[in-house]
Symmetry: C2
């Protein structure tokens, strides 16, 4: 099997941990696999370099930031290769450039455009374990680019896709994706499988494991991801295309997003384009709108509700203020949160939403807004009931079983 492994900053956060990673790589090698190993910078290194740059400038040039930041992964890659060589394995370190990773020209947040895998494939044929510095590539001018936060995951997924690897193992300090945050519900269970779409909807649960950009890329390229811990030996969670086993499960997980503020506009003039105008103005102000709901019109008026991050509520109020002639009354609540139920099984099963609403009612949790998609039901509730709602729903769908 050809396996791409990726070890995050915490997993390579010290020389001892790099040694531990070398042992894991060696074990996978002894099991007969071809291996491409993508590494992040040692934890803290990237932030240290950012702090250095900010000593000189609040807005350092992105081109220079890329030369600066790409150095951290190069250090880890060469150290891991040296560690493996010392253990008797034929390993080779490659920079993003040497690994053939071509990106667009956007410094500090580049997109991978293509990968020329010939150099890596040649090394694999020679029997080598290939260690790749993650997070980096080169643009068409041959200049170093970096891929933004979580960029090493992107490197790994893109390499796995381009090399048609059998799996892409993403190692971090957590052992997989859970049905909900174990700090809120200690009965939360690790999932064996989750679909790409569920993972995307549950991003807050998986944030420490894998960012949405990587999941989207994996979905697009059909890369099977296995999220594992580098500190234990569990099987992890497989993130893949949904299959029958996944569909048989009604609900995969419950997510809680506490960073939400609600905006409700009553009696909005129901003329075409008014919603578009409001949301365009919010976008212009860099305000990230999350949930949007609009009730059916009544006497030429409509109610419009949406949520924004709490830190952006004040800015949103200003924008809304400039539309005051277009609606009757605005109501703001910055103490709300979003509880989401996610599961591909919802597609083929009815009654799941009703069950959630009943459970909330039984526990006297008032639902302020509801939004549903094919595989997700999201509810806005008072912030103080957020964690209770998670526990209630976790039990309702028997996720601890």
């Amino acid at each position: 099997m050809l396996i791409v492994q990726k070890y995050g900053g915490t997993s390579v956060g010290s020389l001892e941990r790099i040694e531990n990673v070398a042992k894991r790589v060696a074990k996978a090698r002894e099991e007969g696999n071809d291996l491409v190993v993508v590494v992040s910078a040692m934890s803290g290194e990237t932030n240290k370099l950012i702090d250095y740059a900010h000593h000189f400038s609040k807005t350092p040039s992105k081109r220079e930031m890329d030369i600066l930041l790409s150095s951290g992964e190069r250090v880890t890659a060469s150290l891991l290769a040296i560690a493996l060589q010392e253990m008797g394995y034929d390993a080779i370190a490659m920079t993003g450039r040497q690994a053939g990773i071509k990106t667009d020209g956007t410094h500090t947040y580049a997109r991978i455009e293509s990968i020329d895998t010939s150099a890596i494939e040649e090394r694999i044929k020679e029997g080598k374990i290939v260690i790749v510095a993650g997070f980096q590539g080169i643009n068409e001018k041959g200049e170093v680019t970096t891929l933004g936060r979580g960029g090493s995951d992107l490197s790994a997924v893109a390499l796995a896709g381009a090399l048609h690897a059998d799996a892409c193992e993403i190692y971090s300090d957590v052992d997989g994706i859970y049905t909900t945050d174990p700090r809120i519900e200690p009965k939360a269970k690790k999932l064996d499988y989750i679909s790409y779409d569920e993972m995307l909807e549950l991003s807050s649960l998986g944030a420490k494991v894998l960012q949405n950009r990587s999941v989207e890329l994996a979905k697009k390229m059909g890369v099977k991801i296995i999220a594992k811990s580098s500190f234990s030996d569990g099987p992890g969670t497989i993130i893949a295309e949904e299959n029958e086993a996944m569909e048989a499960v009604l609900v995969s997980g419950i997510a809680l997003d506490k960073n939400q503020a609600r905006v409700s506009l009553r009696d909005v003039e129901d003329r075409p384009g008014i919603a578009a105008e409001i949301f365009n103005r919010l976008a212009d102000e860099q305000i990230n709108v999350d949930m949007i709901i609009q009730n059916a019109s009544k006497e030429g008026k409509t109610n419009l509700g949406f949520t924004v991050p709490q830190s952006e509520l004040e800015a949103a109020k200003k924008v809304i203020g400039s539309f005051e002639k277009d609606f009757g009354e605005a109501d703001y609540d910055e103490n709300v949160c979003k509880v989401s139920i996610v599961g591909v099984g919802m597609k083929s099963h009815s009654g799941i939403a009703a069950k959630a609403f009943s459970a909330m009612a039984e526990n006297n949790i008032n639902i302020e807004m509801i939004s549903t998609s094919e595989i997700k039901i999201s509810m806005i509730v008072d912030e103080k009931y957020g964690e209770l709602a998670v526990r209630v729903l976790h039990e309702t769908y028997e996720l601890d079983k």
Copy 2:
């Protein structure tokens, strides 16, 4: 003027010092110069990375070491560029690859083979200050190579030569080359000028400023070096082709090498090739022979003397032991040192050596071995007289005047 500046590890050893360097670069810019600035890694960084590698292996792979070690200079180059940009100057950081530095394939101790200056020249034409990560290049396979200790000096000199720069300013924490080590003779004076050849012969005096490899390259390419301190504003020492002013000076400096042991072989069989055999065997054992003298033969026998580093004397004794049939008696002295008088003026002046021998005799310092070249007189004396000899000679040639 086009000036290449190079700042060593101590000069960029902290964020504050990088800021100080940025101010120096800006000043040179305001004086109307085009600038290419070569930087080392922040002091301590390279050693830290070497320690990291040695945690995993006593003999880490050189290819991987180059990826590892080249990262330090990239950090400094990008930080200095960011600092200059923030001050309003148009600066750009370039890696060794981007600067067009092509080397041979020898990892960790590569030789610069050629420099494609087109990218740098284009940036200069655009009005940019070009900051180059020193110590590194790429080989013909496109892999990162490093140039060994003092490699950033080599980068700077080679760039100055290839760009036909008007001068190559090498900044460190000392303000130039002195007539002798000021710790031995407090009256030592900073030299305004010194020739390449004198500098090569006085390498122990200039070791903290510039290594011989860089001086040789500067001589070969005709690059005028100015050794300066980045912590003060003195004019430094100019290292260039000898000229009339230099030749008018009899002696430029006095050097002391304490790390010497003497080997004397008496009554060596005077058959052809015997000396070659002995020195080949010493070379095979990686023993560095420094001074060699052979007296004229007498009755078919000759006396052969040479010096080696003190730490290699035991190994040398073993080699000599295997030749015991070929000579009468061996005499070793590990407590000797070498005092050297250097000056291009010797070429055209006689009596300089005699003056030295008289001065030594007046002070009862016995000379065990003498070796002379066109611009240097070296004497081996008892180690305990080494510093006295330096002071005596410094005064004899009036170097404090």
